[in-house]
Amino acid sequence: MRTFTPDELALCDGRDGRPSYVACDGTVYDVGESFLWRRGRHMAEHEAGRDLTEELAAAPHGADLLELCPVVGVLVAGA
């Protein structure tokens, strides 16, 4: 399983053709194919390339919807 540091994840922001990945509870998901994550943004508030664990806690849905997206790696602490 590929590992991502926060800095590496930040490069996967869905802009300018870059992949669109988000992390939650240590797992990194590819949201690039999701209609609701176009251009690396979701519902005006959330951006790809970030650990959304805390933001998801305040969202009107749980991790179950995120888990529909492919897992591409795990998030590890930065250097």
Binding site: F35, L36, R38, M43, A44, E45, A59, P60, H61
Partner: protein
């Protein structure tokens, strides 16, 4: 733009630009759902499909009403709809409620319908949470829409056998909660 109305919302601590983007995304979801529900409705035929057609039609009309009710609030707060309809479609807060591969599969049709309503329930709950006690007019509007979306969800859920909705379908009226914003 209602300048003071916007100032009051900003002073209450709401990020108005972010709220506006959310409202436009939700308006896009309503109008696109109206479009996709039109296709679903005309395909609800046969012994099973005809039984669902009337509530699908009510949900379709009420979703259009939600779009109509949201638009004035977007402009009051200084926002606007995109010039490009395609861009507007792609901003939708919910994925397209497309016709299932087998339109004669009424369970598949109901699943599309209930998932669309569940997306809307999540979306308006979120807008209510963001605006409660801060932006009274947007909260009032979002709550009215939420009330109708919850009823839509429960109708379709009931048809899917997930349990009783606890209330009847509309009787000759539409948008009992949102109509005050349409006058």
């Amino acid at each position: 733009m209602a300048k003071v109305a916007r100032e009051m919302v900003e002073k209450a601590g709401v990020n108005v630009d972010q709220l506006l983007e959310l409202l436009v995304c939700n308006a896009a979801a309503e109008l696109t759902t109206f479009y996709y529900y039109t296709i679903l409705r005309v395909n609800l035929i046969g012994l099973e499909g005809e039984g669902v057609k009337e509530i699908a039609e009510v949900a379709r009309i009420e979703d259009r009403n939600h779009f109509e009710a949201l638009v004035p609030r977007i402009y009051e707060l200084g926002g606007k709809l995109p010039d490009d309809m395609k861009e507007f479609h792609d901003m939708s807060a919910c994925k397209p409620a497309r016709l299932p591969a087998d339109p004669t599969d009424v369970t598949a049709m109901l699943t599309v319908l209930v998932e669309a309503e569940r997306c809307a329930v999540r979306g308006y709950t979120h807008v209510c949470n963001l605006t409660a006690g801060k932006d009274h007019r947007t909260y009032d509007l979002s709550l009215a829409i939420l009330n109708e979306e919850i009823e839509h969800e429960s109708w379709f859920s009931e048809f899917l056998g997930e349990g009783p909705s606890g209330h009847f379908m509309r009787r000759g009226e539409t948008s009992p909660f949102v109509s005050k914003f349409l006058r």
